[in-house]
């Protein structure tokens, strides 16, 4: 009788443990790995620190119905990391060029289809580092590429989305 009670309560204990474990694990699945913007506080090597946000989308205007301005793009670039990785100094990348092009023009420039309609406006941006290319994906037979001097990004001029990025 005591043995049965022991088994019974052991099972109840196991159940409680599992339920609590599941609740903890799924209350916020990303909590353990969530990084706030302040976690990406980078040193610029001069005793100051800069807070660069991860690359994402340029904030849209009028729900994406109004084309973004060069100023909007500039403001974004000054506060966000280049998609390939941070600069070696932790400073924002230097903006060398911002061009408003059609998708067809930008596709020719980068040598690959971007995927929007040919006449859709996009921003082509040229950035100078040097960058640490942490986010570059390589096949197993390829050697590490070392630091990168220049890179580019193409954004949807209405939606602000980063469409494609690359190295030079």
């Amino acid at each position: 009788m005591h043995m049965r009670r022991f088994v019974y309560f052991s099972m109840l204990g196991l159940l409680t443990f599992l339920i609590i474990g599941m609740l903890a694990a799924f209350a916020n699945p990303n909590q353990a790995s969530q990084t706030s913007i302040s976690d990406l506080n980078l040193s610029n090597g001069q005793g100051n620190s800069l807070t660069l946000q991860p690359p994402s989308s340029i904030p849209v205007i009028d729900n994406g119905k109004t084309i973004l301005s060069v100023q909007d793009v500039t403001k974004y670039l000054q506060t966000h990391l280049f998609a390939a990785g941070p600069t070696t100094t932790g400073k924002p990348p230097t903006i060398e060029l911002i061009q408003l092009l059609t998708d067809a023009q930008a596709s020719l420039k980068i040598g690959s289809s971007i995927g929007l309609p040919d006449n859709a406006p996009v921003y082509y941006v040229l950035l100078q580092g040097p960058f640490v290319p942490t986010n570059v994906k390589l096949p197993p037979s390829e050697k590490p590429i070392g630091n990168v001097n220049e890179g580019w990004e193409v954004f949807d001029a209405y939606a602000g989305n980063l469409l494609v990025w690359g190295l030079i």
Partner: protein, 289 residues
């Protein structure tokens, strides 16, 4: 009195029986949920920092083909600080060096490639702490570029199901997929998940003259922390340069790994009845392989 005691004892037995059944049910359900959505888990592992060698666990099938496809399971992966990918590479080893294949202008001449799959972005990556379809390439004459699905991250309906990945030469499009330019000298990328998808064209105006020499499937990992449950690659096929037919792999290829990534063959591809190209798992060590 004895009958009442016996009834009471039977009731107790039933309670214990149901408690055991319930406990095991919850255990198995929670195990399944944790394996399919594991983004909260991090392992004490690391590999490089983006300037040193990345860690890969892969299977390589050497030989010239005009395409390759496979299905792989979509799992909850945590990218750690940088990234984890589950993907396929179509590689041009450029062994004679006649093509201009460099990820950077000042890189030594090496491989060209097209790669496609899904990436778990780490905390310092584009779109941190999300998983996205992506494809990337180094084409002859052009440097590295990457397309992370701008539409959005993977959706809940993608998880726990297979994604179909197909990389092929546009000159050899036996399925006549309409997004791919007809009879053009480009490579095309087709990623079809259960809920979301992505397509791409590597090259423009007949500019991608890549000559494939290897199919690679597997995992790539860079950074610290992270977690990758096994990605199972099944229905691994190669597309014949002779007649564009898609054929199941019949040999185990050439597996390799760089810890902490690791591989495990669940089913070897074989020249035998019922072969469907094998079932090969890749993961970060300690996460199920």
């Amino acid at each position: 009195m004895r009958i009442e005691m016996k009834k009471s004892s039977m009731m107790e037995d039933r309670r214990i029986f149901f408690a055991v059944i319930l406990a095991f049910s919850i255990f198995f359900i929670s195990s399944f949920m944790l394996s399919s959505k594991a983004s909260a888990i991090q392992l004490s592992v690391s590999c490089g920092n983006g300037t040193t060698d990345d860690c890969h666990a892969i299977t390589d099938w050497p030989g010239h083909v005009t395409g390759a496809d496979a299905e792989l399971t979509v799992r909850g992966v945590n990218g750690g600080t940088i990234f984890v990918t589950h993907e396929m590479w179509m590689v041009d080893s450029n062994a004679n060096g006649l093509e201009d294949c460099r990820p950077l202008s000042n890189s030594p001449n090496g491989n060209c490639w097209v790669e496609a799959g899904y990436t778990a972005q780490g905390s310092q990556s584009p779109y941190p702490n999300t998983e996205r379809w992506f494809w990337a390439d180094v084409r002859p004459g052009y440097r590295y570029s990457e397309h992370d699905n701008p539409v959005g991250p993977l959706q809940s309906g993608d998880y726990g199901h297979n994604v179909y990945i197909y990389i092929f030469h546009a000159l050899h499009n036996p399925q006549k997929l309409s997004f791919c330019p007809y009879q053009a000298n480009e490579w095309c990328i087709y990623i079809q998940g259960s809920a979301t998808s992505m397509t791409g064209i590597s090259g423009i105006n007949n500019s991608n003259s890549m000559y494939s020499t290897d199919i690679n499937i597997g995992i790539e990992y860079v950074g610290t922390g992270g977690y990758s449950p096994p990605a199972s690659f099944t229905y691994n096929r190669w597309q014949s340069s002779r007649d564009d037919s898609l054929n199941y792999q019949q040999n185990s290829g050439e597996p390799s790994y760089h810890p902490p990534t690791i591989y495990q063959y669940l089913v070897d591809p074989c020249n035998c009845y019922g072969n469907t190209g094998g079932n090969i798992m890749f993961c970060i060590s300690g996460a199920g392989c």
